[in-house]
Symmetry: C2
Subunit: 212 residues, 2 copies
DNA sequence: CCCGGATCGGACGCAGTGTCCGACCGGGGG
DNA sequence: CCCCCGGTCGGACACTGCGTCCGATCCGGG
């Protein structure tokens, strides 16, 4: 596979490019009007291909949705990975992680909201769709757990069952994400990230009223 | 209208009863297989009425879903109101509130998960559906805010913008709910409630490792 | 020039929604 | 007693969207 596949490679590229184009259109429309209320005709038309061609790329509506989620997954993963190495302390990393997630939400709140939906919805197709989302959850959960472990051994965080800590932090992140994705006019990102991070670190404990 | 309307009142009762019956069936089926994957035929058949009769009670699928949410809303509201007056300190109330919400989830996790979905999904029908859910959110938010205010003035909670505190606490509750609703085998309720409450109160602050 | 893969566009069967209407049932009033 | 009437039934209807299929068309490479 070392460079002699120009034609085949090129076709692959073209194919991927058009695929991504359809996915991008679908994400936008799904975000705007929901996964059920957008006919395949419209996605195809908007993407500039025939409806039947869409079915060449994606076996069904569900698979298209899954591709949309996978795309978002990849983008989120990359954004967080890029930001991950830039901070030293667990607390700083936590805040960075939060801010990075919020930034991704702000990029495309409508579809993000929808992604949370897809994760939760039952049904046969949704099993696979949910799996796509669970991957994101697991990615983030691993980061969160590493972060907690580091803070715990250095005494910056209180000692508790790491799984439980991960769950609790994860819940806060999930809630923050879901709420922000649904808010028409969310708070400034940096500020919100700081608030959330501080809340995760100290909860409602008095004595932390300052801007520390 | 003072008591001479036995026939009419009776009819109302009968009507409401059958309505609730349809709603109950719909909740179960929606919870099991999602809102889109269960035909109206099946709901009607399972509820023991003709499909056309369902349309006498509910103008559309969306309205039926809204009725399901409204029923859940009512039940949740009542459960929490009952438990509300039983505790004195804000911390105790918080834990009680959490436990009560978890209990409601455990009653019907499938549909609860779905309710969170409905809240988030866009589309024309979903505006009204979302409003139904927003009501629950507002109910809870009001309670949370009262609770925070009380804790803040007595110095048990750190001082901060009440709206922001409410949002942060609400985020944790939302996340906890969503995660629990999706977990096939959730942790014991009382324990989970205690954990969540303690996390909201103290976050990851060291020095709170005990069972206090 | 011709070939072959990709795309187009339009038809098909199928399933589900929401509407409508005639038939039926059961109870209360004339 | 029968009739009337509100509620229910069941089935037909038009309509929309999904997923499949196939012949027609386009276009780049041999």
């Amino acid at each position: 596979m070392a460079g002699r596949r120009t034609p085949e490679g090129l076709k692959e590229v073209i194919r991927d490019y058009r695929r991504d184009q359809v996915v991008a259109v679908a994400r936008r429309l799904f975000g705007e009007r929901g996964t059920t209320d957008v006919p395949m005709d419209e996605i195809a038309q908007e993407a500039g291909v025939a409806r039947s061609t869409v079915y060449v790329y994606f076996a069904s509506r569900d698979e298209l949705l899954r591709a949309c989620l996978a795309q978002m997954h990849t983008q989120l993963r990359e954004a967080i990975a890029d930001a991950w190495a830039q901070d030293a302390t667990p607390a700083a990393r936590l805040e960075r992680l939060i801010e990075e997630m919020l930034a991704r939400i702000d990029d495309d709140p409508a579809f993000f909201r929808l992604a949370l939906v897809a994760q939760a919805s039952p049904g046969q197709g949704a099993v696979a769709v949910g799996a796509e989302l669970a991957l994101i959850g697991l990615d983030i959960a691993r980061l969160v757990r590493d972060l907690y472990d580091e803070g715990a051994v250095t005494g910056q965080f209180r000692a508790m069952d790491p799984d439980r800590a991960t769950t609790l932090i994860g819940q806060q992140l999930y809630g923050a994400i879901a709420v922000r994705a649904g808010e028409p006019d969310p708070a400034p990102r940096a500020e919100a990230a700081t608030d959330i991070a501080r809340f995760v670190l100290h909860g409602l404990s008095p004595g932390w009223a300052g801007t520390a």
